[in-house]
């Protein structure tokens, strides 16, 4: 007789607790942003105008869509549609890669214009603009790192699904990876208007 200990709700709650700490981590950065915005409102809008709304907007659509595909993947596994679940996982990962490629081009363009932490060009533009771009690179960089981790997690779980280690009866790993992925989306939902759209 084998008794397996299993607590799916507990596992999900543990993931939620971890995500609360992630929110607090990013909130620290957003609070620095808010305080700097009250100190340098004019400089922040000037700096924000230098960011490319099209790159930011495209990445918003990409992330929202990837959140949809991973949410659909869970419905698929619950209904026992393994193949469809796998396809949706791979689409999510592909979208994560598209996001990072966009980010690469966006940052390359900015760096080639002399906008990067510690650059002389930035220092000449004054304290307010320097604060904006330092925060932008740090917050977007930390977010990008989360995109990379989230996509890796989903890839690992997709392989486990293919090997039937994640099944329609047991899919908490997929749920928790999806929760992490949605957090990445949530951070971007705030990051995009605050950094790209300030007039």
């Amino acid at each position: 007789m084998s008794i397996e200990h299993r607590d799916d709700t507990g596992a999900r709650f543990g993931m939620w607790l971890f995500l609360y700490t992630e929110v607090i981590l990013f909130s620290g950065l957003f609070i620095i942003y808010a305080v700097s915005l009250t100190n340098y409102p004019a400089e922040f809008s000037q700096a924000s105008n230098k960011l490319n709304v099209y790159f930011g907007g495209a990445n918003t659509i990409v992330l929202l869509t990837s959140s949809l595909t991973i949410a659909l993947a869970i419905s698929a596994i619950q209904m026992g549609r393994k193949k469809q679940c796998l396809q949706l996982c791979w689409v999510t990962i592909a979208l994560a890669i598209v996001f990072l490629i966009n980010k690469y081009f966006e940052w390359s363009a900015e760096i080639s214009h002399g906008i990067y932490p510690g650059s002389e060009h930035l220092a000449e533009m004054g304290a307010g603009i320097t604060v904006f771009f330092n925060l932008y690179y740090f917050t977007a960089g930390l977010h990008g790192l989360h995109v990379l981790i989230g996509a890796t997690l989903i890839a690992v779980v997709a392989v486990m699904t293919a090997k039937d280690k994640v099944t329609s009866d047991r899919y908490t790993l997929l749920e928790n990876s999806a929760l992490y992925w949605h957090l990445v989306d949530l951070v971007w939902i705030f990051l995009f208007p605050l950094y790209y759209l300030i007039l």
Binding site: W16, A34, T60, L64, S75, P193
Partner: protein, 94 residues
């Protein structure tokens, strides 16, 4: 231990939520192109909060979870509000 399973959410629901999220993104971008002064940032935050709620309640299945999960979120948001409030009491009245 028997686990209570969530009923699978129909694809249609998720697709509708996604459409709403895309729509709200368009709203934020359009509103941000008009100069409303300080109101701009509040509209941006309001729309972002609505979008977050959609993601949290539907995509993250919070709607189907027990009270414990919802109380947890509320506690986290309260701590966050205190965190932000205290910072601004300091910064604004220094």
């Amino acid at each position: 231990m028997s686990e209570e399973k969530h009923a699978p959410v129909p694809y249609r629901t998720f697709i509708n939520i996604w459409l709403a999220l895309i729509g709200l993104t368009v709203v934020t971008v359009v509103v941000s192109r008009f100069d409303l002064g300080a109101l701009n940032i509040w509209v941006a935050l309001l729309v972002a909060s609505v979008k977050s709620s959609l993601v949290i309640f539907f995509f993250m299945h919070l709607r189907q979870e027990s009270k414990l999960f919802k109380i947890g979120l509320l506690v986290m948001l309260t701590i966050l509000a205190i965190f932000i409030g205290m910072t601004f009491f300091d910064v604004l009245y220094r």
